[in-house]
């Protein structure tokens, strides 16, 4: 029967025809980018903004911690003493010069982490382009939010209606106090344009190991992701079946492990018993 099994092996390529034909009916993954935009991820790192307090005072105190921490060395800050008659910031000094070079910035957000006054945060705006190098350096005037607290719409940036929503949001990995557990607690100041942003679920130190086990984080988070960021096979009903299968498989393995362990223990016990009996005899 070697011939038949050979034939069967030779015909494996037919699976490719089935798959490609199925793809005819599947939704397209291509996005018509300049025409339609993908919703931005909740924590996307875009260009920076320099924030203000409600009374219009700048939050930046010119401490240069952001410039010091920056691994790409793209921030240039010079502080200056506040003029006593009309201070720019509530502190002693303010950021007199503030420049970020976007040809160097890697959007790691360490400056945001370092900032003691939440003066610098990252928006989600990233769709901008330049025609020369000096344009890539954003100055203080360009970075500062406007009177409403929203990022300035600069002429070379591609903005659409609603693109700046939730953009002065707070991209901190930790709370200002340094604690990772800030679920349910608003530990950030308000977005001036839109008010205080509600806390996000699931960003806490609370761990549900029983539920998540050793699953990759992506799989755990799939329930929270946008549909298009989830692999096609894991969406909808099919996804539920897949998750159920995976968890059943995992439980089976766990059960098998437990059984094996129990068997080993029993074997060890009986062996011990047998040797004890033998020595007793």
């Amino acid at each position: 029967m070697g011939f038949l099994s050979d034939l069967k092996e030779d015909l494996h390529f037919l699976g490719g025809f089935k798959l490609t034909f199925e793809h005819l009916a599947r939704p397209r993954v291509t996005r018509q980018y300049p025409d339609e935009k993908k919703p931005k991820q909740p924590r996307q790192h875009g260009r920076h903004v320099l924030n203000r307090y409600e009374d219009g005072m700048e939050k930046c105190i010119g401490c240069e911690l952001c410039a010091g921490v920056c691994p790409a060395d793209c921030i240039y800050v010079r502080g200056l003493d506040n003029p006593p008659d009309h201070p720019v910031s509530p502190g002693e000094r303010y950021g007199f010069v503030y420049e970020i070079n976007y040809l160097r910035c890697i959007h790691c957000d360490l400056c945001v982490e370092a900032c003691p006054t939440e003066a610098i945060t990252e928006s989600k705006l990233f769709e901008f382009s330049f025609t020369n190098r000096s344009d890539a350096i954003y100055t203080r005037d360009e970075l500062l939010v406007d009177d409403d607290g929203r990022p300035k719409h600069l002429p070379w940036e591609d903005w659409r209606e609603g693109d700046d929503r939730l953009t002065s949001g707070w991209m901190r990995a930790t709370a200002p106090a340094g604690s990772a557990a800030y679920e349910g607690e608003v530990q950030w100041s308000g977005e001036l344009g839109y008010g205080v942003r509600a806390p996000e679920g699931g960003q806490s130190a609370y761990r549900d190991d029983a539920a998540t086990g050793t699953l990759p984080l992506r799989e755990v988070l799939e329930a929270h992701l946008l549909d298009e960021d989830i692999p096609f096979e894991h969406r909808g009903m099919r996804g539920r079946v897949w998750r159920a299968q995976v968890s059943a498989e995992r439980n089976k393995r766990k059960l098998q492990r437990n059984r094996d362990r129990l068997r080993e223990l029993r074997a060890a016990r009986s062996a011990r018993k047998a040797s004890a009996d033998g020595s007793g005899r």
Binding site: G16, T20, F21, H23, R28, T30
Partner: protein, 456 residues
Amino acid sequence: MGAATIAAHPALSLLAGTTTADPLFAHGVGWFVWVVVVIKVLVAFAVLLVSVMLMIWFERKVISDMQSRIGPNRAGPWGLLQTLADGTKLFFKEDLLPERADLGVFKLAPYLSLLPALLIFTVIPVGGIISISGHTFELQVADPPVGILLVLAMSSIAVYGVMLAGWASGSKYPLLGAVRASAQMISYEAALGMTVVTVVLISGTLSTRGIVQSQSGGVWDWNLIRLGIVPFVLFMVSITAELTRPPFDLTEADSELVGGFNTEYSSIRFALFYLAEFMNTITMSAVVVTLFLGGPDGPVPRFIPTSDVWMPVIWFLLKTLVFLFVYVWLRAALPRLRYDQLMDLGWKRLIPLTLGWLMIVAAVVVWHWWGLLAVVVAVVAGGLLRRAFAVGTERQPQPGGPTSVGRKIVPTALLGVGARGAPPRVAPPGPASPGPAASGTPAAPGTPGAPAGGAG
């Protein structure tokens, strides 16, 4: 094949003369014949060009669908004018002539590959026979008595286009592509010719019109069924290889040969190659329909009896479209074959199979019991052949003998001994430790350096 009469055009009704408008002028020449011939040629040419444009669009769209992409959608509605835009762009590109090219041949080659593609289409019956006020003519440009031979001859001439293009470019990748192409086309032409012979055997005619008419009894009379499915499958495989379409697109294997035989071509000459390739795809799909699926006939005679003029044309287009889709599907589903796999398939599988099937069909046509005998002979011969191939491929390398790489036996001399590359040609004269470690230890003064790997 009912001859229908369509409403006579007032101008045409004034004409009188020959009964058949035949471009081969077998039934005499008159100015009415001339008019019809010119109209037929112009219509066929225009339709073929437009269908090539649509075919390129169709291929790009379908393959995008199969890869979950969108495909061209900017130029015109649903991107329909994309090909036109590309063609226009190619027109205005610089026409580069390589310095080392053989200019005459270099310029000739694109036309040499385009012309056969056009000529094959002339013998394809696209519809029935219609008559206008007493003048009957066939919906096909020409119906020579040797129609199917013309197809074979033209597909052979197309090889010249490819081969000369590669040779005349004066560059290595086109030459490699052309060598592959000619080897591939010639190998598969044998299988192609023999499947055509089975069709000719059962139809008893070489004329394409005659082949179609012999299948006019509905699905059960189609050569697809009458010959058993096998010749059809073999024909499809060999025609795909002949067209150098995926999975047999070794000629232009982008990942290996840059672009194959047309690497050095640019501008409109490149566009002509492209045009020829897609035109060939269309005409060969039409040839398959003609040879195996009854051409312009419906699945049942008079399936939709309302129109005898247009229905055959629509059937023909539908069937051709199915094959065009299959070609695109093949491209989406299958990876490219390796060169030795290609040759194995051609010489070891297809040619013996077509030969065997040809023998069986020939025997059955003569006498049924001869057919049974032929089946027995074919099975026995097939078993022997299989055994022979198995012996060839499953030979184990002997210690000290030739080593096998993949399925090929490679002489030991070509491989070198051991894992450290080529063996030293002269034994190392140094008294120090022999072997690979010698290159690491400093050679004794006065002795010639130990033959290190990269030192020579």
